[in-house]
């Protein structure tokens, strides 16, 4: 197989790499030992819960409830990490730091960014599961677990 890519192939690979930053289905599938149905169910659940939790973040931010805000952001960060939603995870990491430092001005911007990342996640989420391919060869091997 040639190592040279055409421009369209290169941009396709680049898009796939970007999508894996948003949602790495391969990583999640491996974590769930190749259980595709389970992965889809978990992603549905994450999508359903996220908006409610985002509203919670906004409310707590307004009332400056630092402890509860930190708890919620931390929990959302852990969930995002586990489902391999890396951009959301990174955004929540910044948000958590901002809460700890009580930099309220940047907090509102970060919450808006988080909402934007979630919209991007939903978009990738709606694309067929193969959208992440071609995947990183080092992340192959899910079938071995089945």
């Amino acid at each position: 197989m040639s190592t040279q890519h055409s421009n369209s192939q290169t941009s396709e690979i680049s898009a796939c790499a970007d999508e894996r930053e948003v949602l790495d289905r391969d990583e999640l599938l491996q974590r769930c030992l190749g259980n595709f149905e389970f992965v889809e169910r978990i992603l549905d659940r994450f999508s359903e819960d996220f908006e409610t939790k985002l509203d919670g973040i906004r409310e707590l931010s307004k009332s400056r409830e630092v402890y509860q805000l930190h708890q919620l952001a931390h929990q959302m960060k852990g969930t995002a990490a586990n489902i391999a939603a890396h951009r959301i995870q990174a955004c929540l990491c910044d948000l958590e730091r901002s809460i700890d430092e009580e930099t309220w001005d940047s907090l509102d911007l970060l919450i808006d960014s988080l909402e934007c990342e979630f919209r991007g996640f939903q978009k990738v989420r709606q694309t067929p599961a193969q959208a992440n391919t071609p995947s990183d060869p080092s992340k192959q091997g899910v079938a071995d677990h089945e």
């Binding site: 990583e27 491996q30 974590r31 769930c32 030992l33 259980n35 389970f38 978990i42 659940r45 994450f46 819960d49 708890q71 931390h74 929990q75 960060k77 852990g78 969930t79 990490a81 586990n82 489902i83 391999a84 677990h145």
Partner: protein, 353 residues
């Protein structure tokens, strides 16, 4: 009911999605999983005594993972609980704080399924080791409590057995069989050689005078009682290799090299090596110890008796190992019998006061 320690995992995670992913993964690895969403609920579950392995998130409402680990370590009753902190916190200071609170291991989120699996196997191995040592100690003490001989006998037997096994490990003939694990295993399991005496009636076991032939026949059954009991346990726990050695020793330590021993009349190499070793250790200790029916023989007399039994009572290779470790046998005998005499004198003194 015979679930090995650590196969039922308690997951403590306040985020339902992360908890569900973890549960799915653990179930696929063959673990039984119970999930709770905070440290307080976890403490209640742990009190049920059903859990030996806990995987806990760090940050949780009410009682967090650090508080949970501390509470687990403060328990005064119950088995050891192996605790793994699973958290998105990382960095040395967090790891130190987590382990310092009493956690046994630390995994960062998002977890890698293969890493999680091997770490769980480590946890199971550690729990099994703890169970093994406690089991051996408990069983040996049980046998000891019914035996009119002194408790020092068990300690001397394990020391003599270790000396013999170590010596054999240096010979070309046994180098492939007797390794460091064998030496450690015989040290651990040799005190169980008389475990079957728990099945001998007091009237025979504690009889001060000589036994009648019928009584001696009953006494001989301690070997098969011990062997069959440990065999039944070994068959139900096939991964616990130490039980096989314990069974061989209990069953065959009264066999003789020429086939004239009991209970099965095994001879030569049909007698397991561990039992051939403990046989000599047991006889040497019986000879050099005082009994109600005899004074202790000196080392030289005991040595002579053992040499006379080489090839008939004892495996000649084990006798050779005994001669090579002769000085260490004398030192061990003196050291352990002296400490036992001091203890006895101290106890007598206290009783008289």
């Amino acid at each position: 009911m015979n679930e090995p320690a650590g196969r039922h995992v308690l997951v403590v995670e306040d985020d339902p999605i992360s908890g569900e992913i973890l549960e799915q993964c653990l179930s696929a690895f063959g673990y039984r999983v119970t999930c709770v969403n905070d440290g307080r609920a976890a403490i209640e579950k742990i009190r049920s005594g059903k859990f030996r392995l806990v995987i806990s998130d760090w940050e949780m409402p009410e009682l967090d993972g650090i508080g949970l680990c501390k509470s687990i370590r403060e328990r005064r009753n119950g088995d050891y609980i192996y605790t793994i902190l699973l958290t998105s916190r990382s960095g040395t200071s967090n790891i130190v704080q987590g382990l310092d609170s009493g956690a046994d291991d630390f995994i960062t989120k998002p977890f890698n399924q293969d890493e999680l699996h091997v770490r769980l196997r480590v946890a199971e191995r550690i729990l099994a080791l703890e169970g093994r040592d406690l089991l051996i100690f408990s069983l040996a003490k049980l046998a000891d409590s019914r035996d009119p001989e002194t408790g020092g006998h068990l300690e001397r037997i394990r020391q003599y057995s270790r000396l013999l096994a170590e010596q054999l490990s240096h010979s070309d003939k046994y180098a492939d069989v007797v390794d460091g694990d064998f030496v450690q295993m015989i040290y651990l399991t040799s005190p169980l050689h008389d475990i079957g005496k728990v099945g001998i009636p007091d009237g025979i076991l504690k009889k001060p005078g000589p036994l009648t032939p019928d009584e001696f026949d009953v006494m001989k059954t301690h070997t098969s009682i011990g062997g069959e009991t440990l065999d039944a346990v070994a068959q139900r726990h096939s991964t616990a290799g130490f039980l096989n050695m314990a069974r061989n020793i209990a069953w065959s330590h009264h066999e003789r090299y020429d086939g004239s021993g009991y209970p099965r009349g095994l001879s030569g190499n049909d007698i397991p090596l561990s039992a051939r070793i403990v046989c000599l250790a047991d006889v040497y200790d019986a000879l050099t110890s005082r009994r109600v029916y005899k004074e202790a023989f000196c080392h030289e007399t005991s040595r002579e008796i053992i040499l006379n039994g080489s090839g008939t009572h004892f495996d000649p290779d084990v006798v050779k190992a005994f001669l090579q470790q002769e000085a260490a046998f004398v030192d061990t005998c003196k050291l352990l019998q002296t400490s036992e005499a001091s203890l006895l004198s101290e106890v007598t003194e206290i009783a008289e006061c």
